[in-house]
């Protein structure tokens, strides 16, 4: 009996089991690359949807633990496993970074392995094709062309590199334009690699810290003191310019950067033009005008015991009054910043034009009622106390006082000031001679301090150092941005080469006054139109 004959399976060779070759097969597989991209897209989605540990908390175990405890309220028993798997730091997790690295490896291995065939195709192109190729009725273009020389010249005019060969009475033409454009694919792939590498470098190495520093404040630290890149920022001057409507026009800060005690950079930082030092940029990101410096000296010891800078970020309600003379001219239009308290009324002594002195204060109307302005002329004890509601006017014999309503002045609850009773309030306003800082209660009253004019109360001397503007500075270092810029340039270059200088190859055979052409590079219609144009020009030139 004849043995059944089966086709023998192809014998597997040793090289098929080569792990590097298996790895290579995976890396050059389009399916693998698409799967990897899908995985990274899903992971990125998770990184956007799931709360991520804020950058400033990284490396601080106490802050990290606190933040995680907060997340426990949302994720419950899943919190610990999610943390262990890196779901709260997706973009820094080992699995995400590994996926990114694998994708980079896939793209660069693919790219490298495409090089040999493309190189051959560019530098050793096939200049002759079989007649069957040209005779293909769907793709070949037949034009009348008696003179091969003029046809070649017209092709050269169109920037083709033309080679011709005569064989058997027929002239074979090969025209090649922009052959190097075929390398555009490498430019685009290199851009993709650099985009991925840039993202990887950004995730792993970028650093950022926001600082909020007042003019003249001790140089503010950036990064922890045991950090290799620890620096300090000193703000010499912070400037904010606004238009009439209060819209910000420009923020700029004169900065000095210190490192290990040495001045290493100095310059102006703006929102769009940062100061640069050591790979870091120092961007102006915020501006706050209402800061103040307060110094306190211990008069007994003869030394400073307090020197702080406040950002008065809250607002305190104060009454706005308008005083007019008998002609109706406004002689005073000001917010009354309280320095004293009488019962539940906060107010201050005001000397009106003409020398008359009043005590003016405001108190809440109670139960959401409107504020009340309390006015009495000091020195008079009877019948002089007046209570005004918002908008009401009081006749002061020759002057009229109008309670325009409540306004706000910058304020802050302060603690720890020597001589201050537990905690108090600091307010920054405009006094008759410029900025005025009121701080209190100190010894039962609010201190009204003008810049540089010390006021002694008890054992302490208080000095308002002046208004200090604050600058918000973003200190950032992102080595990945270099990669991204280069990648963007390469990507645009690759696109430009592909779309504006596409490679086109034409093969033709000229015989008996007729030329048959076929081409590659672009749409068939465009190739056909170009060949007919060239043939028409060649005929006209003869």
């Amino acid at each position: 009996m004849a043995e059944a004959s089966f086709g023998r399976p192809a014998r597997l060779r040793w090289s098929d089991y080569d792990p590097l070759r298996l790895l290579w097969r995976g890396l050059v597989s389009v399916r693998f690359a698409l799967g990897l991209i899908g995985f990274l897209a899903l992971a990125s989605f998770a990184g956007v949807v799931i709360p991520q540990l804020p950058i400033e908390m990284r490396g601080n175990p106490a802050a990290e633990a606190g933040w995680l405890e907060f997340q426990r309220g949302r994720f419950g028993f899943l919190t610990d496993p999610m943390d262990a798997l890196g779901f709260f730091q997706v973009f820094r997790s080992l699995w995400f970074v590994s996926g990114l690295a694998l994708l980079v490896a896939s793209v660069c291995v693919c790219t490298a392995n495409r090089l040999p065939p493309i190189w051959r195709n560019v530098f050793r192109p096939q200049t002759r094709v079989p007649d069957e190729y040209l005779a293909h009725s769907d793709a070949s273009i037949v034009v009348s062309a008696a003179n091969a020389g003029s046809l070649a010249r017209e092709l050269a005019r169109k920037r083709y590199r033309v080679t011709t060969a005569v064989e058997g009475g027929a002239t074979y033409v090969f025209a090649d334009r922009y052959p190097w454009a075929q390398f555009a694919t490498f430019v685009s792939h290199l851009a993709l690699i650099l985009f991925l590498a840039g993202g990887f470098v950004t995730v792993v190495t970028s650093r950022e810290q926001q600082v909020f520093v007042a003019e003249g404040e001790p140089a503010y630290p950036v990064f922890a003191v045991d950090d290799r890149d620890h620096m300090q920022l000193y703000v010499e001057d912070a400037v904010g310019r606004f238009d009439d409507s209060g819209f910000p026009l420009d923020y700029r800060t004169s900065l000095v950067v210190y490192r290990d005690g040495q001045e290493v950079a100095r310059g102006v930082s703006t929102v769009s033009d940062p100061l640069h030092y050591g790979g870091y940029t120092f961007h102006q990101s915020y501006y706050f005008p209402n800061g103040a410096q307060l110094k306190v000296r211990d008069l007994t010891a003869g030394r400073l015991v307090y020197d702080e800078f406040f950002a008065l970020t809250a607002g305190a309600a104060t009454p706005q009054i308008i005083v007019r003379d008998s002609s109706g001219n406004v002689v005073l239009n000001d917010a009354i910043v309280p320095t004293d308290f009488i019962g539940d009324t906060a107010g201050t002594g005001v000397t009106l034009p003409g020398g008359r002195q009043f005590w003016i204060g405001a108190r809440p109307g109670g139960e959401d009622g409107p504020w009340q302005l309390i006015v009495f002329e000091t020195g008079r004890t009877q019948g002089a106390r007046e209570v005004l509601g918002p908008g009401q006017t009081l006749d002061l014999q020759g002057l009229t006082l109008n309670f325009a309503g409540m306004t706000e002045v910058p304020s802050l609850v302060v603690k720890g000031i020597p001589g201050l009773e537990d905690e108090g309030v600091a307010e920054l306003s405009q006094g008759p001679s410029g900025d005025l800082l009121t701080v209190g209660p100190v010894a039962g009253r609010a201190l009204a301090l003008s810049p540089g004019e010390p006021v002694a109360v008890g054992n302490y001397e208080y000095t308002f150092g002046g208004r200090r503007e604050f600058a918000g500075i973003t200190v950032r270092r992102d080595p990945g941005s270099v990669f991204i810029w280069i990648a963007t340039g390469l990507f645009l270059l690759g696109l430009a080469l592909t779309f504006y200088t596409p490679r086109r190859r034409l093969w033709g055979k000229i015989d008996s006054g007729q030329a048959a052409f076929r081409g590659l590079g672009g749409r068939q219609l465009a190739i056909e139109r170009e060949i007919r144009e060239v043939a028409a020009r060649a005929s006209a030139a003869e």
Partner: protein
């Protein structure tokens, strides 16, 4: 025309993959990218290393380590030795001060807690200097002129040292609420750390520390 020639041309040679051996197919392309990324990162990082001027952490002589354990800024361990420059320019080595109870306070002018506790430290030193206690203020990586102004304004009466590059702060693993400062170490006459305070040294904490380092308590 030769018969073996194919009638169709390779229109997309880039779609072809060719195995050219492990070196050319995998190692070289991946290695090239890694090298480019590495070079760019190195250039970005500034490359260089810090100079060693002899100041900073120094080895504690064995003869001065009574604990026979590696120095460590923790309770019961020998304080890590350092050599730092003082405000007046003179060098000062910690181990040279053995025999004297020490308080080492790491601080900075930008630290609000440090500023707040400075008057109290001045008073504390005023009170205990006659009992042989030496307080050292180790300033962290700050500009000398700014520190000098601060010392003058606040009337600081104890020696100020400069930890220029944070090396000593790193060795001592300072850790407080404001990026590591203030951190205060109470060290006995034999150079052994007896108490560590991260944050403000309140009078109660100071008394506890002094009781541990002063012969017979405070």
């Amino acid at each position: 025309m030769r018969e073996e020639e194919t009638p169709e041309l390779e229109s997309r040679p880039q779609s072809r993959r060719e195995w050219s051996g492990a070196l050319r197919s995998i190692v070289l392309p991946v290695g090239l990218v890694v090298a480019i990324v590495g070079v760019l990162l190195y250039v970005q990082s500034g490359g260089g290393s810090s100079e060693d001027d002899g100041f900073g952490t120094v080895a504690l002589p064995e003869a001065k380590n009574v604990t026979a354990q590696t120095p460590n800024a923790r309770d019961g361990r020998a304080a890590p030795d350092f050599l730092l420059r003082q405000l007046d320019g003179e060098p000062l080595r910690l181990s040279d001060l053995q025999g004297q109870p020490l308080i080492v306070n790491f601080w900075a002018t930008w630290c609000p807690t440090c500023r707040a506790e400075t008057p109290d430290l001045i008073d504390l030193y005023e009170e205990y200097r006659d009992k042989g206690v030496l307080l050292l203020g180790v300033n962290l990586r700050e500009n000398e002129a700014a520190v000098s102004t601060f010392v003058e304004d606040f009337g600081i009466n104890y020696p100020i040292l400069f930890d220029r590059d944070g090396d000593v702060a790193g060795t001592w693993r300072i850790g407080g609420p404001n990026r590591g400062v203030p951190s205060t170490y109470f060290i006995d006459r034999e150079g052994v750390v007896r108490k560590v305070v991260f944050g403000t040294v309140t009078r109660k904490l100071a008394d506890e520390g002094l009781a541990l380092i002063l012969p017979g308590g405070s």
